[in-house]
Assembly symmetry: D2
């Protein structure tokens, strides 16, 4: 892979009451939803709207694993910028990262491991080569920064 944009046009998200909770901040699971919107926009920019995945490539995306790390709270009226890029890709799965920020300050990172599903066969499948070619044009992002504590647990988990 050669030259590739470091970022596409970010998705701007105006935080509504619907996104928040009684703690006065954006509810944590909402960032996971927002990340889907950002990935969808990135896919549309690649010429592959998710609504056309099945018809054009015969597959559907399924989320295998998702992780969100929260850096700062978001509040009603904040205009958040969401930028999605690919951390790693293989025919078995793509790892997207969505970096969510406000005025350049990191708010949240969401990483989602996406695999392909063959609706006809009713089971998982490899990502089609024609789709991999498109994904190769996506922006790349490094893995999200984790808190030291959670990193420790990751190693514990890997050992378990």
């Amino acid at each position: 892979m050669t030259a590739r944009p470091a970022a596409t046009q970010p998705l701007l998200h105006d935080v509504a009451y619907a996104d928040t909770d009684a703690g006065g901040i954006v509810y944590h699971a909402r960032f996971v939803e927002m990340a889907e919107r950002s990935r969808n926009l990135a896919m549309r920019a690649l010429g592959v709207p998710v609504a056309e995945m099945k018809e054009r490539f015969g597959v559907q995306f399924i989320v295998r694993d998702v992780r969100a790390t929260f850096h700062r709270p978001g509040h009603v009226g904040d205009v958040l910028a969401l930028a999605s890029g690919i951390v790693a890709a293989s025919p078995a799965r793509v790892i997207w990262r969505t970096a969510i920020s406000r005025d350049g300050a990191a708010i949240c990172d969401v990483e989602a491991q996406i695999a392909a599903f063959d609706p006809a066969a009713g089971g998982p499948c490899l990502l089609p080569a024609a789709l991999m070619v498109r994904l190769d044009e996506a922006p790349r992002l490094p893995p999200a920064r984790r808190s030291p504590m959670m990193k420790l647990h990751d190693r514990d988990g890997a050992r378990a």
Copy 2:
């Protein structure tokens, strides 16, 4: 810590259309919400309803990191069983795991790293000792099983 229940009464969740998406399955971020309901039930069983945290302990919980791993899809009408337990706890943070299953088959695991926030000071704080004593009575669970691919990425992330 001595004898401790391996599990409390699970929360039963009857999957509604509200929980699903056009792929015909439970939307991935919904499991993150369900896990909050299960942790709240576990906290209530410990005698510490989350609505009383601030009044009784002077702190609020904040989610620092959440991760969901999806094993099998859930569907409308499924009755899911959610059981929450603590994977690791220190005054700096508690890691809860919520194991979500259907008829004994694993559907999803959600792990959430929770820290304390001092609303008076407006910043993070340690979990109060009186609260740690209560959490010590919570069921314990081992870390969630990850897929091999995501484990690899975790190590990459830890190195980064």
Copy 3:
């Protein structure tokens, strides 16, 4: 129609942060979701789980119109009781009302007009007679109380 239960077992809903917004109360659209859960429970009590509608009756339910009236706010930790009953039913549509209360005090009323959709034909259809027989066993509820101002607007709307 003769003797019919005035109410089934209510659905109890323990309000989570997920249900609330930064105003500190349950977000208004969440009551609309909760009402679906309550109607689903009522349908299950009638022996017709919504997940089996298509297979057993060849139809799906669609919501044509939904209205929620808010009497008192709900808060994190509230245990809400949701009771659903039928306000009016014909083969063209069923109007369900879900009365949501806390310790007997009215919190919210949701009324939903539900019609049938024929997935095979791809269009609306009448509710099958076998399903109407089941619905005839549902609890009945009077229409929800409205605020005087909104009633006025209804008349304006009807005139328009």
Copy 4:
């Protein structure tokens, strides 16, 4: 009131899986959420971001009643246009309508009756005059079209 714009710039909403349900269409309560986003944009266009309501006017908005009428289903990938305007306004309450369409075809109408709440006094209050002046600049919309069946029920409700 004299010349007033018939509509502001609509909010465009790219339907995500998060918005849909297992029936393959946008989940009905999601339109109620989307309408909040559209009203927030309209308020911002009036120079009154909802996040500044309390600080600038000493009040918070509360939703007293909300009604959604569904004309056509929405699907993943649809780009919906949401336009909000005021149907009726008095110091006691404002009725907003949000017309949701796709390529000019009506998808859904949401009408919300909004009142003011005084956080200091802990109770409802009139909309401040300075806020009413701003709202007077909002686009106006006629009441939403209802289905004939639901109109009948409205009259029944008004009689009850």
